[in-house]
């Protein structure tokens, strides 16, 4: 162990350039080959564009250069990271700087409350300080955090891979939009209804898939999500088809009429409230009896059953509770955008929510929040990268999985320390 960290610290440059290779020359050769291989690989798609109707060909020769150079240098980084991961594997602690900082803050009570207070203050003042656009982005970020925390129950805690999570989100949104359009039912009545609808649908989906494991479950939930989206798209008489439903009412405040700015701020505070409620509930849930049953289920289904845990009940609870938050988030989403259509509920939306959970750190509340902030806010502020957004997204998903499979902030189990003071004083008497 000492040996490996020594290798890491002593010759950083040497280690960087020869990671995984015998010598620098060997590493050079490997990188050259990788660059050549990728030039060949990307040649037709990157370089040639044909139009068979107008019979024109456009050649982008310059792209070969970009690819060759970036792969040549990139492959050094790649090998270095792989070698570092291999060396660090046997060292027990493998924490990121962020995690170390979080642990430090949490272990110190004063610091912890100061940090919480600071976050609270920023959260309250945020819409007063920044403009409407920023507030809107923050609201969608909060929606994604809630969605991520909901999916975290199903995937992160119970280990059931749900690729159709967006269906529950869609149900909440459509339920509010339709009830509002036909019967003029308000936001506050629909929020719990959306939650209940989500839970019911979660149980309905949960029943048939109870017997399925891992990958089969993934594909069935994916199919389920697509079925819901296709129904929304094709059942034009009820759902208005692809054109969607517009002018959905914003949430009311005891009959007070709000302007655009005021109603956005109001929406923001509603989301903050919902987020606090979500964090509180998920935190309590994961340390409860059912939460521990989920973890057991995730680790080993058979051993979990052998311990006397009711598998059916545990799985259904995970599906239902996960879907509850998606239903609520859907209602909020419809009220926020005042317009919904099936295009907002594609498989990629599920994939984004899933990547929030996974990149942040499965099973970790702080991780999910960090994941949502990174994946939702970063692309918004990097508008120039707008068209590369999804490309980076995919690449980040792969890179995080390869180099940090446990996500940015790995989950920590709550440990109940048993203080021996009582027994000690009893012994004294």
């Amino acid at each position: 162990m000492n040996n490996s960290s020594n290798t890491l610290n002593q010759g950083f440059l040497k280690f960087f350039f020869t990671a995984g290779c015998d010598s620098f020359a060997h590493a050079m050769k490997k990188s050259l080959l990788a660059a050549l291989w990728f030039v060949f690989l990307t040649f037709p798609i990157m370089v040639i564009r044909v139009n068979t109707i107008e019979k024109t060909v456009v050649w982008h020769w310059e792209r070969i250069g970009y690819i060759a150079v970036s792969i040549f240098f990139g492959s050094f980084v790649w090998r270095w990271l792989l070698a570092r991961k291999e060396l660090k594997k046997d060292e027990s602690r493998n924490e990121t700087g962020l995690e170390v900082l979080l642990t430090k803050v949490q272990s110190n009570a004063g610091l912890k409350y100061a940090a919480l207070g600071l976050i609270g203050l920023i959260a309250v003042l945020f819409p007063q300080v920044v403009d409407l656009y920023q507030t809107n982005i923050m609201i969608s970020c909060l929606v994604y955090i809630v969605l991520g925390l909901g999916l975290n129950i199903v995937v992160g805690l119970a280990g059931l891979l749900d690729l159709g999570y967006v269906a529950f989100y869609a149900i909440g949104a459509y339920a509010y939009a339709l009830c509002n359009m036909h019967w003029d039912i308000g936001f506050w009545y629909m929020l719990p209804v959306g939650a209940i609808l989500g839970a019911i649908l979660g149980i309905l989906l949960g029943f048939p898939v109870l017997r399925l494991r891992g990958d089969y479950l993934a594909i069935v939930t994916l199919g389920f999500g697509e079925i819901i989206r296709l129904i929304l798209e094709n059942w034009g008489d009820v759902t208005m088809g692809p054109s969607g439903i517009s002018s959905i009412a914003r949430p009311g405040l005891f009959g007070v009429k709000l302007g655009v700015i005021a109603s956005t701020e109001y929406m923001y505070y509603i989301m903050i409230g919902l987020l606090i409620f979500t964090i509180f509930s998920v935190n309590r849930l994961q340390n409860s009896r059912i939460g521990r049953a989920w973890l057991a289920l995730r680790e080993d289904e058979i051993a979990c059953q052998a311990m006397g845990i009711d598998k059916v009940k545990t799985k259904l609870m995970a599906f239902a509770l996960g879907a509850t938050w998606a239903g609520m988030a859907g209602v909020v989403f419809a009220a926020k955008t005042t317009f919904i259509n099936p295009a907002s509920f594609t498989f990629w939306e599920s994939a984004i929510i899933l990547s929030i959970v996974v990149i942040g750190g499965m099973g970790s509340i702080r991780g999910v929040i960090a994941g949502a902030i990174i994946l939702v806010l970063l692309p918004e502020y990097l508008r120039d990268f707008a068209e590369f957004r999804m490309l980076l997204f995919g690449a980040i998903m792969v890179l995080v999985m390869v180099f940090r499979p446990q996500g940015l902030i790995s989950a920590k189990r709550k440990i109940y320390a048993y203080t021996a003071t009582n027994t000690a004083s009893a012994g004294n008497e």
Binding site: L41, P44, T52, I53, A218, V220, L222, G223, F347, A395
Partner: protein, 300 residues
């Protein structure tokens, strides 16, 4: 009844394409138990390579049939290269990681490849030249069968037979079966497991590329998104047949293709994809391991 035969041939054609893609899923799953989510994108890249090559060749005045052959060969070469590279970059470093990790890496890869093709080419539908000369046959009832459909069905049958013979009789095929049975044991008896896994990706990708060029020429247009829905359908077919089983994938693909064709013909064309997924859910409820899949006993 008048267009029964037409629907039947349409269903067989669809089923053939699903089979070509599904074989890649099922082979990879059989060996490393991973849903290669990026496999649909391999099919899409095959179609794009085919389009680029065919476009170039038409401009230089090559005759029709040779264009089809060269386009297929190029699509196979590049798709196989992509399949090989994806395995090396996104899956190999994750051997031995928890089950979810490679799956998520695969979804990331799929998103990456789609956007890569979209940015490098375009997000619009691109017209694909008709590479299979179109003749229509008409039977006594008035059903129309096109030559492209016949070519696709024949090419798929040939590929499936070829693959089955390959797996049954060659040394590499034997090594693949051994690795699928027990990877550790295969390694112990001197099989180069890494090589076998790479070979599986290469073969699966090649089959998908053949499917990509054939269907693109039949439908006449492609875009960066075609891989997603085709991949999902093909995976559905593989699961239907029992994932990991090669004859299962072929059977599942035919069942799926025919179901879709008849459901769209006789019920409603709006809900085409819904039928596919409903069929999947129903079969999995009653036979959780697929039509030809075997119940695996669970090791504790």
């Amino acid at each position: 009844m008048e267009y029964f035969l037409e629907l039947f041939m349409g269903g067989l054609t669809r089923g053939s394409i699903y089979a070509l893609i599904a074989l890649g899923y099922t082979m990879v799953y059989g060996i490393i138990e991973l849903i290669n989510f990026a496999h649909g994108e391999i099919y899409m890249i095959g179609a794009f390579t085919g389009l680029i090559v065919a476009g170039l060749l038409t401009m230089y005045g090559f005759p029709g049939v040779s264009i089809l052959a060269i386009a297929i060969v190029c699509a196979v070469i590049w798709s196989a290269a992509y399949g090989y590279t994806i395995e090396k970059v996104a899956y190999k470093p994750l051997r031995g990681a928890p089950r979810l990790s490679p799956l998520i890496s695969a979804i990331g890869m799929s998103i990456f490849l789609q956007n890569y093709v979209m940015l490098a080419q375009t997000s619009d539908f691109l017209p694909f030249p008709e590479l299979i000369p179109e003749f229509a046959f008409m039977d006594k009832m008035g059903s129309i069968i096109s030559s492209a459909e016949l070519v696709i069905i024949l090419a798929t049958t040939a590929s499936c037979v070829g693959l089955t013979l390959f797996i049954k009789f060659t040394k590499l095929g034997k090594a693949m079966r051994a690795t699928a049975q027990n990877r550790k044991m295969a390694m112990l008896v001197g099989i180069n497991v890494d090589m076998v896994i790479s070979a599986t990706f290469v073969i699966g990708s090649s089959l998908a590329a053949v499917g990509g060029v054939l269907i693109a020429s039949h439908i006449g247009q492609i875009n960066y998104y075609i891989g997603f829905i085709a991949g999902i359908k093909a995976f559905t077919a593989a699961v239907l047949g029992g994932i990991g089983s090669i004859p299962g994938a072929m059977l599942g693909a035919l069942v799926l293709g025919l179901t879709e064709a008849f459901a769209t013909g006789y019920v409603s064309s709006d809900y085409e994809d819904v039928f596919a997924f409903l069929l999947l859910v129903l079969i999995l409820i009653f036979r959780p391991s697929g039509i030809m899949g075997r119940e695996k006993t669970q090791k504790v």
